[in-house]
Symmetry: C2
Subunit: 198 residues, 2 copies
């Protein structure tokens, strides 16, 4: 059997260009969320994936560290959700598999801002990532509302993260996040294998 020598998840050119031109400092939770939501919108418009965007920021400086969008279809890879891309990009850029280890100063750390509550997989990935704070836009039910599945996620997911010292904020700019989901649904975005992928 011939085997590839790498897992190949390419970041779209438009995203690299957008980040190079972005303001990298977003002072408020809402500004950071609106940036993550804008990534989801761009991902739809460029046809590069599903309506989900995520970004990682330094909690103290509010500096943008890494971004992610859903790349499941384009990368032939079901694990390529926006949150997983953002986590991997941040870790590889900073050279560590554990973002918590990079927080040398007390109170320092990184937050994950995602346009929609994480699915079962992304929820499970968060404790391994070393992020300390999670900010969510749309709810599970909003993603389900357009036909996406959130997977077998425990009801007490938020509590489970908080028990591990990861704080959670929800419903930040929820309506704007919903608008992007619905834009996707009404503009012919494929709800690819609802129940199997997102």
């Amino acid at each position: 059997m011939m085997m590839s020598n790498a897992i190949d998840i390419r970041i779209p050119d438009w995203l690299i260009e957008l980040v190079s031109k972005s303001d990298h400092h977003y002072a408020t939770s809402k500004a950071r969320m609106m940036f993550a939501i804008s990534l989801a919108q761009h991902n739809i418009d460029h046809g590069t994936g599903g309506p989900f965007g995520a970004a990682i920021f330094d909690i103290k400086t509010h500096q943008l560290i890494a971004v992610g969008v859903n790349l499941v279809v384009s990368s032939h890879c079901s694990i390529a959700h926006a949150e997983m891309i953002a986590i991997s990009m941040a870790q590889q850029q900073l050279g560590s598999f554990d973002l918590a280890n990079l927080s040398q100063q007390p109170g320092r750390g990184f937050e994950l801002v995602t346009s929609c509550e994480p699915c079962a997989m992304c929820f499970g990935a968060i404790p391994w990532s070393g992020i300390k704070h999670l900010v969510c836009g749309a709810r599970d039910e909003d993603a389900r509302g357009i036909g996406f599945d959130e997977g077998p996620k425990m009801d007490a997911w938020r509590h489970a993260l908080e028990q591990r010292g990861i704080t959670v904020e929800t419903d930040i700019c929820r309506q704007s996040a919903i608008d992007v989901l619905q834009y996707y649904a009404t503009h012919g975005g494929a709800i690819y294998n609802a129940g199997e992928s997102r």
Copy 2:
């Protein structure tokens, strides 16, 4: 901000070579599991990651489709668990994000064989992957026994998969899988950030 154009998860040379030389047909569940366990052992011996191995097989022909080992430390990436690598490799090799879609014939499909029960993240990844059958060696408690954390996984994880039509076998060659975990622990394998990564 300069941003990399890809997520870069390299497969170790030894693994590519091992697979090129492997028998690709494993007739029994035990043979397939012993192969997955051997990947975990090789991963320790080559110093390329944690004591976890996984492989994906065609359920009908028992042909080996893809492999994975834990590459968290070497790839600077907390999501690079053995199961995630095997799922991604299979999907990218076959050119689809959904292994279920590739099962054209009734009763056909793919199985994931993992040397240890999946953690919370890998559990959540399984429904998105399109695999139809999961085979586990060591138990959660065996991984925890050497200091690894399994994450916030629901107690009824097996039932949750079966409700989605994914069948599950556990305790296949469990003792051999435990032996590799304990070999790792006693030979100085880093239990890197137990509680944060695996």
